[in-house]
Symmetry: D3
Subunit: 233 residues, 6 copies
């Protein structure tokens, strides 16, 4: 029913990651979650927030859209549940402004929390004032038609990363990370452990201790052959 | 007298769009104007404002500059009338910083309102503090020479769009749109109509009504063959 | 001892530009310094600050890093003296997030003032709140390994510009400029002269005088053949 | 066992598409197969063959490699069966030359037919003389280390497309297309039907009949409002 | 009737440059024609031929196409006269494969000589074998729909250059140049003069004379301040 | 006398690498030399030959050119000695066609062997027929002026790599590598050793032996934790 990249379907009643797990992941930054799940899950870094400080976490409603055509983003509005983040992939590279203030108003009214779109977005001042967070590859006023079917809630590749409907999406100034719904609980635990450990390290570094010593890197550097010559004067 | 892309001339006494039409267009955003004139007129989306919230509207003084050379931007200063926006095209791709605080001071003193340049700009902090709005393809401290003629007030292609001297330029966070001077009045009317209609739609969407119903898309989607399967669990 | 691009060494006791010269250069913007040293020294304009208004000046500790590997950034922490700016070049194009909050904490504790990195950076919100200035080619949450030697304090090419250890680095919203340590004093003098001259020009332009007259360009334009036809109506 | 993007594993005994289906698909071009499976399956068009006329079809052995590191390409050599095409995805954007004449010699000796790599390749003259077909994002002499684990035979995203081990890969001058192994038979049938139909159309077009008539487009164009004015003279 | 960028029209009976002028221009290379008309008329250099040695000259039939949609290329087929070259501009950046063997067969049957398209092209092996010359921004197997109107024979901007229906198009390995139909005769004369002059220069250079002397550059270089120091040994 | 990036000078009587060393290096490919000197010396991979099979080796005459200006390429002609390769860096990113058939004729007449240029080149068909090898970032018919001084025979950064006058340049289908003149002899020895070793490895791989065994990688892979699960069926 939900084949990769299949067009012509809008899949209902998807299974979503559990709410408390999503909320647990929402406490951590994108960089922390990416590390906690073994350095996987990141979208390509060309995906940027439309305003500084934008942050979102939620469950993915996926959209596969055609170039220059935002029909499926309207279909998706009906499938947004409270807590969802809409994730839009394209069938080909396209920067058109597929999303603006009106769709944001609609998604918000359905309980949507934000948007991740591998295309363009417009009305960015209004979106910023509404505090509707968006990560996109471009800001572009160019409008789109509504003529060709794509899909909603099929697995897609968005900005280089596989996203399945119901997966967890976390995004902040550093970018966007996807956590597969079946790994979400374990990743939340690992993220917490990582954050605790980093806090301790931060204190030691602030006091002037070196990472070389805290992480015990000196032996490995010597073994790899690092030399410390003096500069010629 | 004002042949496309011709170099070696600075054309005086260009015909400009009428002031009240320019001011009427200045009430609308770039996305609205672009839609109102049939989805035409946009510059490529790589043209970005140097600070968030930058906005400008006015009549175009066009410049055709050579790579690494801002001589013609000085010639243009003499041709700026109150209400003008200078639009700079290049004869080839070039990111050098052709414009900075001094030229902005000069353009302002002549009544200029802003700059759209398919090249680089520098002194961006000073320009932001002066609230001198600029849309450019790059921020770049690299300076330029004054050695080779280009042109002022000939038709040019700037960031993929034809611009004629005297055309209306409107720019905001979403990008830059050009309205040909002879279509300006009709586009202003269409923009107002569009905005009024969007306001009504926005209210309905905010109350939870779906675009699928407001725009009557369900029949077309069914006809195109969209299916609504349930997800496999 | 400090051969261009040599890997496997971390050079100690580099000679740095003199403190009072560095501080003198820190009074000028990047565009001014670039002009004052004959339009040289700029890094490519894809190097952007992570927050508006970021500014730094100091002496370069150079790093040559491998793609996906930030080991040498930890080695560099030990070599940072108060007043240094770390400048990271890569052996190949790579956007991974090699630097974040922890390394910034460490560099700050050693007296480091900022970072210039021809790769990615992460934790940008935390870095912005710490006011730790960074210029990078990308923001990217992707983490790195610590497996392969690069170098510290060898001459490198960073974003298209040669940087030698101890050179002066000045960076602001306009980009990043390098002043070779042996030219620093002379460039500081030239920068001051330039700034004074520009101040006088700015006043005249603000009063409506034209650059064409202030700079005496009219003869050269006429000689080059510039014509001033009237527009066809 | 073969989770998406998982590192640290080299999966044995993958299930491959059936030989006769692969060979059937090998009779069609990439454009035909892409159309036959509903305009899906294409890698991004930056993937280019290293010599004109390169063609390959076979079953995918997938590799997930780290930037600047080709260790996993050596691990993959052991997993290549006759008829395989190695498909290399990267954990991040990287153009290094991960593959050259020696690995090609090894893959050929194991029965490998070609390579699709979202990174760089080197020794392209030797590879061209060997007629070893490669599609890559770059030609780059830069060598790599062997230091960090990736994976072999896990699902990957290569140049924007999901590839599962054992899927069918077809590549020619037009690019690279993936056919999921479970759809391969049906796609081969559709490709044949398409090709037959196109042959008939080609003959009619060559005799001067218009696509407008053959495809019956005139009504739809009229309905969409296309007008045929005469040019102003 | 033929407004810039207007959609929804296919303009008949355009005025074309005169045949003997087109044929005269066809004797010169793109670089020569570009120089002969004052260094104008070139399309951006990302437009590349699909096979080495591709050459074409003719009169432009212009097309404005929507992203992912090649409907207008079919409409254009009916408007191609013997000696025409179809020039396709897009309303937005798009790399889809809008043109292939079937359309080439049709254009050839109508007397078309080649294609210049600011999008993608497919079936490049077949096109190369047919010797149907194409300049494009990409090779891409991705197919397109036929759903949204664009235009035929309106002025367009293609790869940064204004093209009017009936203008002369000349293309070779160096790129694509447009000669406005009303300047074609004068440019052909200038091109011939330039070529004759270059032939004489070539002979002198081949005999070892220097451009510095042939073009008399030494005085200007000295005046600009060029110094000839010896290298330090 | 030959300061990095200094403009306004054309340095005479540079010291070049010794002829027999240059010829020795000319026997090896770019990839081999790059490895033999510790994976350094490569220009960025966007530098591509203008025809397949282009090869050159020789000593560098360096040029620093301004955007849109090829004056210094004419100055360089006088400084070319038999066996030289001209290496052109730009003060900023620029793709203009700075070099064509006439300059190639002149360089050849002086004994020049080829060109490496971080800008554009034109007349590529003529250059290919002359077998004059060029590596460039673009093919572009756009011509240039002769108005602003750059430099000849100063150290430059070309495509990301430092090049000093007299250094060895080797280029082939894989790209361009620079060998500093004082390391040339040692690198030639290392290249020969590497080639001999590779020849032996190639034979073993061709017979079906695996790199895993030849290079003894299995222990390191196991230590790094690589697992070999079976696929789920």
């Amino acid at each position: 029913m939900s084949e990769f990249g299949r067009v012509g379907v809008a899949v209902r009643n998807i299974r979503r990651a559990e709410v408390h797990t999503v909320e647990a992941l929402g406490r951590y930054g994108v960089a922390t979650i990416h590390e906690a799940q073994g350095r996987t899950g990141l979208l390509r870094p060309y995906m940027r927030p439309i305003y500084p400080g934008a942050t979102v976490w939620g469950t993915a409603v996926t959209v596969l859209a055609q170039p220059g055509d935002n029909w499926m983003l309207h279909v998706a509005a009906e499938m947004v549940d409270p807590g969802d983040v809409v994730v839009v992939a394209l069938t080909t590279d396209n920067d058109d402004g597929m999303f603006g203030e009106l769709l944001a108003t609609s998604y918000l009214a359905q309980g949507g929390r934000g948007l991740v779109i591998d295309a363009g977005v417009r009305d960015v001042r209004a979106l910023s004032e509404m505090k509707f967070p968006v990560w996109s590859r471009a800001v572009n006023a160019r409008g789109t038609v509504k003529a060709t079917l794509g899909a909603v809630n099929v697995p897609v590749v968005c900005a280089g990363m596989l996203v399945e409907p119901g997966d967890v999406v976390v995004a902040d100034d550093d970018g966007v990370v996807i956590v597969p719904k079946d790994r979400a609980a374990e990743v939340a635990v690992a993220a917490e452990a990582r954050e605790r450990k980093e806090e301790a390290t931060r204190r030691r570094l602030a006091e002037g201790e070196l990472g070389l010593d805290i992480y015990g890197m000196r032996d490995a550097l010597a073994k790899a052959g690092l030399m410390y010559p003096d500069a010629e004067k």
